[in-house]
């Protein structure tokens, strides 16, 4: 673009009721700093902008935004005494034809109103309804799967177990090991002051197998697989794949949701065992360094310190947590609307809700099994 003269308004000192617009009235030139404020200042000095003589023949280039600046300055009326190049006339004709009154209002920011409260209560009820619907559909689908296992979505199931289970082995091992080390160091120092070194086995065994192993695995899986499940369903909504599946007679529940829930229900207990083992190994190595407690003693004492019931509770937690994570992920995934913002929000809400639900379920487990396994 050749560098035109910047757009400006020029007063003629000999004729005070005449004004000339000069330069390139194009958006790129107008967008430069100080150009528009100077023009607006000129307009403010005019008592009756549309009543005086306007000479636009000095304009070298005009586009719609440039014309709009003049038009807004004139108060959205065409000046009676307007001189301009014929080529520019149609731009103003278009502006004149445009319905200026229809400019959409800027929406006010959200405030607390009764309507908002009603809307949010409705949303909450809607969540409950669709969550119950989802669980009901899942039960029906599992029933169908149990009746005709050969027609089941085995491929989806194994793919989900691989993604949510096998591929999570690395991260659960690392986190489990480190938490084991931390727990062991902290307890060892306290126990040492009381001379109760050998009770480290009880503390580590009980807390890891009954509580920390399942919870750690669940939180990691919720972050890892829960988010990816929600995002996957959300993108399938955006790209209309969900609709395509329905049209081809592939029900979402049987082909998408049940495999995910079953896969996590199978993979999670396995991950719990794996995380338990890694955390215990971490605890054992720290115990060896800190208290000089040999791993063979540790392993010998473990069965006595932790009754078998605790393993079953841990495994049961794994199954429940896994199913809950998958259900929450699918619930939020299916509610995502076909836009990017909803996708991001849905994924965040899904992970936060999944972790909250897992901790809630953990509390229920603690209350229900209060007298078991000690």
């Amino acid at each position: 673009m050749p560098d035109h003269e910047p757009p400006h308004l020029a007063f003629d000192t000999n004729a005070p009721d005449a004004i000339a617009a000069i330069g390139a009235w194009q958006v790129q030139a107008l967008a430069r700093a100080d150009v528009l404020p100077a023009i607006e200042l000129c307009f403010e000095q005019l008592a009756d902008p549309s009543g005086i003589r306007w000479d636009l023949t000095g304009i070298s280039a005009l586009d719609h935004i440039g014309a709009q600046v003049l038009w807004n300055g004139w108060g959205s009326v065409r000046p009676s005494d307007l001189h301009l190049a014929p080529a520019h006339d149609q731009i103003f004709a278009r502006l004149e034809a445009a319905d200026a009154s229809a400019v959409p209002e800027i929406e006010p920011g959200s405030r607390f109103t009764m309507a908002l409260l009603r809307y949010q209560t409705g949303m909450l009820l809607d969540h409950f309804r669709s969550a119950i619907g989802l669980i009901g559909q899942l039960v029906l689908d599992i029933g169908r799967f149990a009746r005709r296992p050969l027609e089941g979505p085995w491929k989806e199931l194994s793919a989900n177990i691989y993604h949510a289970g096998f591929q999570a082995l690395g991260i659960t091992a690392l986190v489990g090991f480190l938490i084991g080390v931390v727990l062991s160091y902290l307890s060892a120092q306290q126990l040492h002051t009381f001379g109760g070194d050998i009770y480290l086995v009880n503390i580590l065994g009980m807390s890891i197998i009954r509580e920390l192993g399942p919870l750690l695995a669940a939180i990691l899986v919720a972050g890892r697989s829960g988010s990816s499940m929600t995002a996957q369903l959300g993108v399938m909504r955006v790209t209309e794949e969900l609709d395509a599946m329905l049209v081809m007679g592939m029900p979402h529940g049987f082909r998408l949701i049940m495999p995910k829930v079953l896969a996590l229900a199978i993979a999670m207990p396995l991950l719990v065992i794996w995380t338990d083992a890694m955390a215990l190994i971490g605890g054992m190595s720290a115990a060896l360094l800190e208290l000089n407690l040999s791993p063979s003693y540790f392993l010998q004492e473990l069965p006595d310190a932790v009754p078998l019931a605790n393993y079953w509770i841990g495994l049961g937690k794994g199954v429940v947590f896994g199913s809950l994570i998958a259900l929450v992920a699918c619930h939020f995934g299916l509610r995502i609307k076909a836009n990017t913002e909803s996708l991001g929000q849905g994924t965040t809400t899904s992970v936060v809700t999944a972790i909250t639900v897992v901790i809630l379920a953990d509390a229920v487990f603690a209350i229900v099994f209060a007298g078991v396994g000690f």
Binding site: M1, Q26, A98
Partner: protein, 261 residues
């Protein structure tokens, strides 16, 4: 008078080569587009039309060769120049590519807001004018893209592409997915904008009616080159088998009959 001098090039592509892995898409591709033309880029599927468009826009880097837009090599200019350059062109994506989290109106206003110097009042009236130019009224302007029909999404996307009064407009399949009457009005709209805003238009399309109704020049991509570039009549005289098949098949004859009338 001006046309008699050397034309002012909007786009110059020189010795362009692009490949995906071992697959060679373009080789020694040359193309120069003068300002003010409406150029249709045609070719079979997989001939690299969209790739070429993306390379002109700087979204992809060619393996070799240079792409100049308004005389600037887009792969070697500094970011400041590139930013100015990007305000001088507009692109209509095939699916519209509207920002799904914003209303239609905000989508059109966004490029103007991005300049950071225009007052909000001006932006609002200018964005609304652009929407009215493409036939979207104010009631629909506040809708989200997900609530708009395919034709309206295209129109809003065109309004967004035109927001900063570009000198160069790229269209990727502008009429694909529109019904015939809508597609005719879209063609009419682009022709009117071309007259009014003195645009240079580069479009990728398969629609013969659109090609003959709009283009002042046609560039045919085949065998990894531009095998023909000229006015529709010049291109039709070419004997290349692809051109024969593309323009002189049944559909082509129908479209041509329309052109002769």
């Amino acid at each position: 008078m001006q046309a008699a001098q050397t034309p002012h090039w909007a786009i110059e592509i020189c010795d362009l080569r692009s490949q995906f892995g071992d697959f060679l898409v373009h080789e020694d591709l040359q193309l120069a587009i003068a300002s003010g033309e409406i150029v249709s880029l045609v070719g079979g599927s997989g001939s690299g039309k969209t790739t070429l468009l993306r390379q002109i826009l700087g979204l992809e880097k060619p393996a070799a060769g240079t792409v100049k837009v308004f005389g600037q090599d887009i792969n070697s200019t500094d970011s400041e120049q590139l930013k100015l350059l990007r305000n001088r062109w507009g692109m209509l994506f095939q699916q519209g590519a509207l920002f799904s989290a914003m209303t239609a109106f905000d989508n059109v206003a966004q490029p103007m807001r991005e300049l950071r110097t225009l007052p909000e009042q001006l932006i609002r009236s200018a964005a609304l004018l652009k929407l009215q130019m493409v036939g979207i009224d104010a009631a629909q302007a506040t809708k989200m893209p997900a609530d708009l029909s395919g034709g309206m999404i295209k129109r809003v996307a065109l309004a967004r592409a035109l927001a900063l009064e570009p000198e160069l407009l790229f269209l990727d399949e502008p009429t694909a997915g529109l019904d015939p009457s809508l597609s005719d009005s879209f063609v009419e709209l682009i022709a009117a904008l071309h007259r009014e805003m003195r645009l240079t238009v580069v479009m990728v399309t398969h629609d013969l009616d659109t090609i003959f109704a709009l283009s002042t020049k046609i560039a045919v991509l085949a065998d990894r080159h531009v095998i023909a570039y000229g006015t529709p009549h010049e291109v039709l005289k070419n004997d290349h088998p692809f051109i024969k098949e593309f323009f002189l098949g049944l559909r082509g004859k129908r479209a041509l009959a329309g052109l002769e009338q």
